[in-house]
């Protein structure tokens, strides 16, 4: 198993260099950066949705907060966008508290609906608020001489920054899994009433999970804004943002450490490929495929691809090995 981690780390670290020789180097590196970004967002959602079992469909509010603050500081007050990153986290934490506390009393579908409604409400408010650019959105620095404005020509610096943040997030998640928080969250996911009757301080720990999740989702939003240089209500707070986080995590395996990364590694290239092959003719196949994938996962393997591997594929491989040994 140790080799597995090393191989993964090596692949991630060396990817930009590995593709550098091809004709599509810049594009592949860009895609790699976007995949890492998707992995960060999905892994952040995973803490609340996968580990705690609270399916939030409104995480866009945290992503949006993280994306809007840096660009707000830049466009309105000409400050370096980086300063907005911690502010975004602060706003997200505040949102988490204000939204989380009352909403956690709701169960299952009610909770999900509430998250959709709150995120949608925030989107509408922002769409009509001139300071935040209203429907037009906010822009970041396009070409800056300062390194701290992060306007790189190549995708490689972004790639490594995103990789760094993802690593931190995964390490934090890994520790969480093994900590008391992780233990309690698993209990909550298995059955909230049972957990409460066993003395688990359910509400408090759900809130911790939400705050952790919100923090990293906010960071994902900030990184998106820094790389793209633009944000508007649709790209920052739209429902598709929330849905994308969920699908990415669920495809790979919600509730697992590496599921979201796997999901991102598959979905981002898939998205680009369908756009490139079919996009020119304009048939919009990408989202049909997304919808089909989600339905299939929900119907046949809610644990995602990692679960599929563990329960269906790996045992067969194991049996074959055993068989040859026996022979």
């Amino acid at each position: 198993m140790r080799w597995g981690w090393l191989a993964l780390a090596a692949a991630l670290l060396l990817y930009p260099w590995l593709v550098a020789g091809t004709g599509s180097a810049a594009f592949l590196q860009d895609m790699g950066a976007l995949a890492l970004l998707a992995a960060i967002g999905a892994s952040a959602w995973n803490i609340l949705g996968g580990f705690a079992g609270q399916i939030s469909v409104g995480h866009a509010m945290f992503f949006g907060a993280g994306a809007y603050l840096p660009l707000l500081l830049y466009q309105q007050w000409h400050l370096p966008p980086l300063l907005g990153v911690p502010l975004g986290v602060g706003v997200s934490l505040l949102l988490a508290l204000v939204v989380g506390l009352p909403t956690f009393r709701l169960q299952g579908h009610y909770f999900s609906m509430a998250t959709i409604a709150v995120a949608e409400l925030i989107r509408i408010v922002v769409s009509n608020w001139d300071l935040l650019g209203a429907a037009i959105g906010l822009q970041g620095p396009a070409m800056s001489p300062h390194w701290w404005d992060l306007t790189f020509r190549s995708a490689v610096p972004y790639y490594y920054i995103f990789l760094g943040v993802l690593t931190v997030l995964l390490v934090v998640t890994w520790h969480m899994q093994r900590s008391r928080l992780g233990y309690y969250l698993r209990a909550v996911r298995a059955g909230e009433r049972a957990a409460r009757s066993l003395g688990v301080p359910v509400r408090r720990y759900k809130l911790y999970a939400l705050m952790l999740s919100a923090t990293f989702t906010s960071l994902a939003g900030s990184l998106y804004a820094l790389k793209t240089g633009f944000i508007d209500p649709d790209s920052g707070l739209g429902i598709l943002v929330s849905v994308q986080l969920i699908i990415t995590a669920a495809l790979g395996g919600a509730g697992t450490l590496l599921g979201p990364l796997l999901g991102a590694a598959i979905l981002i290239p898939l998205q680009t490929a369908t756009n490139t092959w079919f996009g020119g003719s304009g048939s919009g196949l990408t989202y049909i495929i997304y919808g089909a994938i989600i339905v299939l996962i929900a119907r046949f393997e809610p644990g995602g691809l990692l679960e599929l591997w563990r329960h269906r594929v790996a045992p067969r491989l194991g049996k074959r090995r055993e068989g040859s040994h026996a022979a």
Binding site: G23, A26, A135, R153, F230, N275, T276, G279, G282
Partner: protein, 414 residues
């Protein structure tokens, strides 16, 4: 993908790139449109227009006299090289626009870019072009800040929000001077970035020109606009300007009819009013509404009429203002590449900066093409058309008009 597979793919790519070397090398231009999503129909129409433009440049069209590069085949200063379009869908997503522009520049090695419809996508895509030093011609996104960032590689041919606002206020002032009652103007605009930026410009310009302005913002894609129409009926403005997309505008016309309120004049800001489904849906109750356009089919036998025939043969319908702007942007770009006599982006940039096209050389009704230091075409203009019968006719300014302006509008009344 394994390393071996990656190298194989790269080799294949190199082979395909090497293949056309025996023909005069095609000049590649990258074009990004919204081919899926909410603006897909506009994007598809634009794609047809740009493709037609490429056909016109690449093959001889002796009938299109005066239009640069149309009469001969290919780009003369590059040995008759043909233009090859690389069409890409940006899905209305600024991040996809950014990535695809990067791909077009670094993988497809396009010599120039054309795009993008959505101003949000134009903002991110042009930033990539600026960083890589590749000219980007904006055929039709109207947000002001696209050319306000001090970029040197971005050029815009189309008029912008403030130009439209200026045309409207000039028109209304002229009407007032001619004795019509025009004291108050209502601006009913949807609240996504299109409606907000254009609506805002119109409100500002109208206030500056001394009109009493009523600013009504509404949610795009509303199910029901009765409230807004009732507000209008209440306030009785002398003119109503609508800024919105197709569904809303059709709904507004129907609701105006249902609630029996007809303002003296309605001006529609392109978009919804120009959509192919507008006239069939509400043409009979919207007689006399005005619209803006820089495209007019013109007299039979004229260059514009012939282009329209070619477009109709290709798509089954008449060319509209938005697609026309894309095509014009393409022609300006092709002309600049030809004048540069080279595929070197820096030379093309210089040729673009030196562009000086006269109105007779254009298919759109601009006063010419000449870019200022920020890359904006200072001679861009828009004109006003009016729905008379089953089509829009050019009515203002007088020197462009092909029909007489009727004020007030007759709507559904005879």
């Amino acid at each position: 993908m394994t390393r071996a597979a990656r190298f194989a793919a790269a080799a294949l790519l190199a082979a395909t790139l090497a293949a056309p070397a025996h023909a005069a090398d095609a000049v590649k231009i990258g074009v990004i449109y919204p081919l899926t999503g909410n603006a897909a129909s506009a994007g598809q129409a634009a794609k047809a227009a740009v493709e037609l433009g490429a056909e016109i440049v690449n093959t001889a069209h002796p009938g299109l006299q005066g239009l640069p590069l149309a009469e001969g085949a290919g780009l003369p200063n590059l040995g008759g090289a043909k233009i090859e379009l690389v069409n890409v869908d940006h899905q209305g997503d600024p991040s996809v626009g950014q990535s695809q522009t990067l791909r077009l520049i670094t993988q497809e090695h396009v010599v120039a870019m054309l795009g993008a419809y959505h101003s949000s996508v134009a903002l991110t895509a042009t930033a990539v072009a600026e960083r890589y030093g590749v000219p980007f011609l904006v055929g039709d996104s109207v947000a002001l800040n696209i050319t306000q960032r001090g970029f040197k590689w971005v050029f815009r041919v189309t008029p912008i929000a403030s130009d439209f606002a200026k045309s409207y206020t000039e028109f209304l002032a002229e009407m007032k001077g001619a004795g019509k009652k025009v004291d108050s103007v209502a601006v009913v605009h949807e609240n996504t970035d299109y409606g907000t930026s254009v609506g805002g410009s119109i409100v500002e310009a109208a206030k500056k020109a001394g009109f009493a302005v009523i600013d009504i913002a509404y949610n795009a894609k509303s199910t029901d606009v009765a409230a807004q129409v009732l507000q209008l009926k209440d306030k009785q403005p002398d003119t109503v300007v609508f800024v919105g997309y197709t569904a809303d505008e059709i709904l507004y016309m129907k609701t105006l009819r249902d609630l029996d309120y007809m303002p003296p004049m309605i001006i529609g800001d392109d978009a919804g009013f120009s959509d192919p489904s507008f006239i069939p849906a509400v043409g009979d109750i919207a007689q006399g509404v005005m619209n803006r356009s820089a495209w007019d089919i013109g007299k039979p036998g004229s260059v514009t009429a012939e282009i329209n025939e070619l477009y109709k043969a290709k798509t089954g319908r008449d060319m509209d203002d938005t697609s026309g702007r894309w095509m014009q942007g393409f022609f300006v770009l092709a002309d600049a590449i030809n004048r540069a006599g080279s595929t070197d982006p820096a030379k093309i940039q210089k040729a673009l900066q030196e562009t000086e096209l006269k109105p007779e050389q254009l298919m759109m009704g601009y006063r010419g093409v000449k870019f200022d230091a920020s890359g904006q075409n200072t001679l861009a203009a828009t004109y006003l058309i009016q729905l008379q019968g089953k089509e829009y006719k050019a009515v203002w300014p007088a020197n462009w008009a092909t029909a007489k302006l009727r004020w007030p509008m007759t709507g559904w009344k005879q």
